[in-house]
Subunit: 343 residues, 2 copies
């Protein structure tokens, strides 16, 4: 990535700050115009309740600036990725269920604190945009970043532009109904994709398998998590392998769906569940192979390598926040800042 | 619509021709800059085998120009919508299964014949673009035109641009897998959406119901078509109502899917099957209502009126072809002509 697209306020402001707000950590990057990392800091705590969240985040930003020997006045813009729904026009976090935030004017508060423009975006979208801008998976102008973690959603870049949709709700594929007789989803509907492949869904599937009395290494004093399931699958546990296979099939279905609708060139798989690496990816590839073998159209659409894991060390969240800030064309009105599509 | 976006070669070429090539007819519109219709002609024959197809189409174009008292030299551009896969950069029809065409250089042949620029596009995409440009469903910049007929596919307009996808295959939602244990699809896969809601699928469902021996007015000397099924459903036939309900549920699922992925503001339903009107739409609305009642997210996304039938008399195919020609910016290189996204 080059940050040439940042409309810097002269050369006095050569830096960009990217903040990735997670459920259990806050990661901050300070980079210069040539995308050199001046400092990276991670606070292994959540931002906490929304009353003090902006202060928590600001503290980590300040600490990272000190590590970089930089001053806030050198910063062209701050980008923040948040796991939730965001209004990029105002910088407000409308709803972040996992953080417990609702209608937090995060962007405005950070701007007031730092006196620098601040762009807030959904973390998965920001990551997708960053993958594109930084050419992390090559010269690809149409890509989806499919994050499988606590929730399931996709950030989509079309023709090099972030696709937010008419109401900023594009990419909510975790709530496409896979099987209307399935488990109840947090959204109220039954059998959404999320109820089959999210981290919580994998833990539930493991619990259900244990309850049937089947022999499995997953049985123990503590309920298994998705991490445990993939570890057991890698170790040959048949119940865990079955669950990993089922997740892989559903995920391949989702990849097929994203390709059939958007016709993207690449789908990058990330999120907590994907950290299982090869054990996570193998069943996905097997199902994609099956689809290719049965359908000429699928063969044409699902070209080899269309789905890939987020490269190790990609730091997609923080770099996504940097990219979003870079696209914000600092100095223009925030309304334009929000319209990353037009960047 | 205004055709101001047509870069006319001066005022000597104030006309645009739109051609809708169907399986059983060819419709041609000649319109002026103010979208006044100078002539409309429909030939109730197919364009035939690809050897003579261009001649057949050209003959109808010439006849329509005569009806309009117009000369080809007054035409800025010709747009052609074809039910199949098209390479808009070259104007070639790569594959049109229902017309029996393969690699037909239709655009180049029509240009050679008429000496005027010719833009060829998939008919469903052209229709979607025309619905947007002509504001047929209001000031909507993000819409999908979902055509349910022999096949099932969607034309998608995002931010006022036609979305073709990285390889021109976007919107192939007829081949999203609904149930992998379903009937074999023409694409090779099992249980694609098309195997549940296309005209052929509806006829198959009727045949299967008859074979079970159930009492139904659909039984007769001739196998029922989708038209027969909807007529019988309107008349209260329980088997036909069951089929219409099942199609409606699947279609609502597809609408939900399109909204969850693209976040479009409006989905316009067209294609042969949709001609059943209220009998076709009612079960769709019922299922959308059910989704809204169970999920807050669905309630937010599936706003009332999000799905609507193509307005009667919209002539979406021919007007779509006109719009595509209009967007082509006549006089520029055909490469740009193809990139309607950038219009």
């Amino acid at each position: 990535m080059s940050l040439d697209h940042v409309d810097l306020d002269g050369h006095d402001r050569p830096l960009v700050v990217g903040v990735d707000v997670g459920g259990t950590k806050i990661a901050v990057l300070v980079v210069d115009r040539a995308e050199r990392v001046l400092a990276r800091e991670v606070a292994d705590t959540a931002a906490g309740p929304q009353d003090g969240a902006t202060d928590q985040i600001a503290t980590v930003v300040e600490r990272t600036l000190r590590s970089a020997n930089a001053h806030i006045n050198q910063v062209a813009a701050i980008g923040v990725g948040v796991p939730g729904r965001v209004d990029p026009l105002t910088g407000a976090v409308t709803l972040a269920v996992n953080l417990g935030w609702s209608h937090l004017p995060l962007g405005a508060q950070l701007e007031a604190r730092f006196g620098r423009p601040c762009v807030v975006e959904n973390d998965v979208r920001a990551a997708a945009y960053g993958l594109h801008r930084r050419r992390v998976v090559g010269e690809v102008d149409d890509l989806a970043y499919l994050a499988v973690g606590t929730g399931v959603s996709a950030g989509v870049v079309l023709h090099g532009r972030l696709h937010r949709g008419a109401r900023g709700l594009a990419g909510e594929i975790g709530h496409v109904v896979v099987d209307s007789s399935g488990a109840r989803c947090a959204c109220g509907e039954r059998g959404c994709l999320e109820t089959f492949i999210s981290g919580a869904a994998i833990a539930r599937l493991a619990r259900e398998a244990i309850e049937t009395g089947r022999a499995t290494s997953l049985r123990g004093p503590i309920e298994p998590t998705a991490v445990d399931v993939y570890r057991a699958a890698a170790g040959g546990d048949p119940v865990a392998i079955e669950i990993a296979d089922s997740v892989g099939r559903r995920l391949a279905w989702a990849i097929h769906l994203l390709v059939m609708t958007y016709d993207v060139e690449r789908i990058v798989l990330g999120g907590g569940v994907s950290h299982a690496g090869a054990t996570f990816l193998r069943p996905v590839e097997e199902e994609l192979d099956r689809l290719r073998s049965t359908s000429e159209l699928a063969r044409e659409q699902l070209v080899p390598g269309i789905a890939q894991l987020l490269p190790p060390g990609a730091d997609a969240g923080a770099w996504g926040a940097v990219s979003i800030a870079g696209a914000a064309q600092t100095g223009k009105r925030r309304r334009e800042v929000g319209h990353v599509q037009d960047a």
